[in-house]
Symmetry: C2
Subunit: 228 residues, 2 copies
Amino acid sequence: MTTLTDVTDSATAKGEQTRELILSTALRLFREQGYGKTTMRAIAAEAGVSVGNAYYYYSSKEHLMQAYYDHLQMQHREAAVGILAEEKSFTKRLSGVLESWLEVSEPYHEFAGTFFKTAAEPKSPLSPFSEQSKPAREASVAVFRDVVEGSDLKLPADLKAELPELLWLMQMGFVLFWVHDDSKDLKRTRALIVRSVPLVDRLLRLTRIPGVRGVVNDLVALIRSIRP
Amino acid sequence: MTTLTDVTDSATAKGEQTRELILSTALRLFREQGYGKTTMRAIAAEAGVSVGNAYYYYSSKEHLMQAYYDHLQMQHREAAVGILAEEKSFTKRLSGVLESWLEVSEPYHEFAGTFFKTAAEPKSPLSPFSEQSKPAREASVAVFRDVVEGSDLKLPADLKAELPELLWLMQMGFVLFWVHDDSKDLKRTRALIVRSVPLVDRLLRLTRIPGVRGVVNDLVALIRSIRP
DNA sequence: CTGGTCTCTTGAACACGTTCAAAAGCCGGA
DNA sequence: TCCGGCTTTTGAACGTGTTCAAGAGACCAG
């Protein structure tokens, strides 16, 4: 039965099945017992393969997390486009994207701490600033570009060009906050997002004031200059 | 000889000597070979004690790093007070403190990545936001309070009260940047600091403009509200 | 001097992530 | 059918951080 379902995939299907079995087993165990308490031996046993075989497909425990991370980001992007199709107001677009991220990520909040830990290391491929995560990063920035471009926001061109990346950076800050947030139902992170969005909006409107404009220009120039 | 040097300490001196021998050995090896490649067995062997004995004094490898971190922070604070005694201008005080931090930390830049990694985990005692590092954090904020209070800066009282903590947060951002900075001689981090300080200064002066003031008030209120 | 109770010290043992040489399947061509 | 070269699979073995039961010293009371 299954061998006939998809002719195009069947060439690689054999190994791929095991690959995905291992991944899904790993993610389930991560969710159930946390990352630290889930051993590679347990993943292998639960998936019905040998330890070495798990390493044949995923060269480290971290790579299993990487795979999860990609999966999550894709989910978020899908949720985001749904929202962006409906809203025109900048604030609503922005908060929609941020809140949908929170929603998608919520089931993994506890586990995210460990993920964050390995992502923090500069050399780690999971670092949001690393070369390896460049595609994922640019995809995220693209979402924020969409937030800006598709909105009613009026801004000078150079600031508008820089804004998506700044918003992405802001979101990184929110992620940092979220990871450390142990309040009930993530109340504090929710409050942060709800209150930050209108503030950003007001802040951006302020750039029309001449005195403010100069400082903002310098800020943009600074950010440009320190990029690698 | 040594047994007579310090009567007050001699009660605890016996264990303390071993404790410090282990710490200094560990830090040396961390510097020489990096954190990851330094094994507890190597530390113990080099210090001439057993592995279990090292664990008697430091309950984990992380704790050895914690100790290093405290040491470094103290060094920085000492360097900072020296600068703050001489300068009155806000910008010079601020950049003096930031640059002295850079100077003190520079020898440990590579090793800092690993440190940062474990510090990023929310539950880790090394996290800058954790309960355990509260004393160290408050001591750091106090330095920035000194930067503000002892300067010629004129600001509304409520913003001035919040400013030290904001500056501390900014420094956390700089640390994050620094850890990821692999440019020659840390050029990019230096540029960031040099260019950020006058910008902060100008930003603070902007708060006199009525329209800006309102937004800043809201920002301060937001920060207050999301604190745990 | 003896016994008891601390603090300090030891190294074998454990659990885990990871590696690797060898075996097992698989497949296309002689 | 058998061979040769691949992909896949195996599990024992290694190195590491960490634990722990047992011992060694120090010190004091009797």
